[in-house]
């Protein structure tokens, strides 16, 4: 596999993850617990989708078959999607949503930080732009983990249940995309083990500060996203997201 093909798979994983994360989070729009957080969650969802647009456009260029961001988003089925499993999970309650965001954002900050040094100019530029957003996202979701984890009787139970529901999908964030080892040895993308260590450190510190039980980092985790094996939730989200495009192909307004 050439370096360019490997980079296509890598960028596709990032783009799909941001797209599905954003689309899932947008389900909160107009359903937020209070106006302030309705707007905050919608803002963050839009940030994720903005990142997805840059990444999928770049993936299309790398692939070299003339596919646009829209072609990639709307004309692939679940088995062709490469988003991390965590992103497609249902929102659950607010506690589950913010703890899922927290795991993703902690990962994103480290990833974008590392890719800000990448010799691949385009990936580097996207990472630098995204890092500012990711840092804010992490600040938001981490803050809620602390508040709920160290909050009332009920909030403690909810955030703990939320974490338990999503924890087995944490490991899949680090599942290598097809040909990723080529990119690692070329120094284009960071090495997984060191990335994971830094993310786990953020998690450990935060859960301790939130007086929550630190989950087992060595637990057996679900995986499969990089082979197109997803949870049952992805095809539902895709069928909703893609329905209009597929009913009216090529429609404009």
């Amino acid at each position: 596999m050439t370096s360019k093909e490997a980079l296509y798979h890598y960028v596709l994983k990032m783009g799909d993850s941001s797209l599905i994360m954003g689309h899932r989070l947008s389900e909160w729009t107009a359903h937020g617990p209070v106006l302030e957080h309705d707007i905050a969650l919608t803002n963050i969802a839009l940030d994720y989708i903005g990142q997805a647009r840059m990444l999928l456009t770049y993936a299309g260029e790398l692939e070299g078959k003339g596919r646009s961001e829209d072609d990639l988003a709307y004309w692939r089925d679940a088995a062709q999607y490469r988003n991390s499993l965590l992103c497609e999970l249902p929102n659950g309650d607010f506690g589950q949503t913010v703890v899922k965001m927290f795991l993703f954002d902690a990962f994103q900050v480290e990833l974008h930080e590392a890719l800000s040094q990448s010799p691949d100019e385009q990936l580097k530029a996207i990472a630098i732009k995204s890092l500012k957003e990711s840092k804010y996202h992490l600040r938001y979701s981490r803050d809620w983990v602390l508040r709920l984890g160290d909050g009332t009787e009920e909030s403690k139970i909810r955030i703990a249940n939320g974490l338990e529901a999503v924890w087995m999908y944490f490991g899949d964030l680090f599942a290598p995309s097809e040909g990723e080892s080529v990119l690692v040895s070329d120094g284009i993308v960071p090495e997984t083990a060191s990335l994971r260590k830094r993310v786990e450190e953020t998690l450990r510190k935060t859960f301790e500060e939130a007086t929550m039980a630190v989950p087992d980092f060595d637990a057996v985790m679900q995986e499969g996203s990089q082979r197109g094996i997803h949870t049952e939730y992805l095809s539902y989200i895709l069928s909703e997201m893609q329905s209009v495009t597929r009913m009216h192909p090529g429609a404009t307004w």
């Binding site: 209070v34 302030e36 957080h37 707007i39 905050a40 803002n43 803050d143």
Partner: protein
Amino acid sequence: MSHVKEGAHGILWEVFIQSKPGIPHKHAGNVHAHDAEQALTNARDVYTRRMEGVSIWVIPANLVTASAGEDSDAFFDPAEDKVYRHPTFYTVPEGVKYL
């Protein structure tokens, strides 16, 4: 602020946004939040999404002392006939610069 009843969504905070460095912060509206830190992030999300500002102040709404409506005659009407308090009241001699 023990005299303020904290609701499920926190207390009310007044939000002031500075649109450019060097100019005064202007009142933008208010948000609910449980503490100052959260009030800042809420204000950021609600009021600065379209590049409205470079700096935010948040102040617990109960700490703002406002003039009462019934005082408005006594407060503001006496200024009505004091046009000489406006700089435009005076004719500026020709040749005066930087005014």
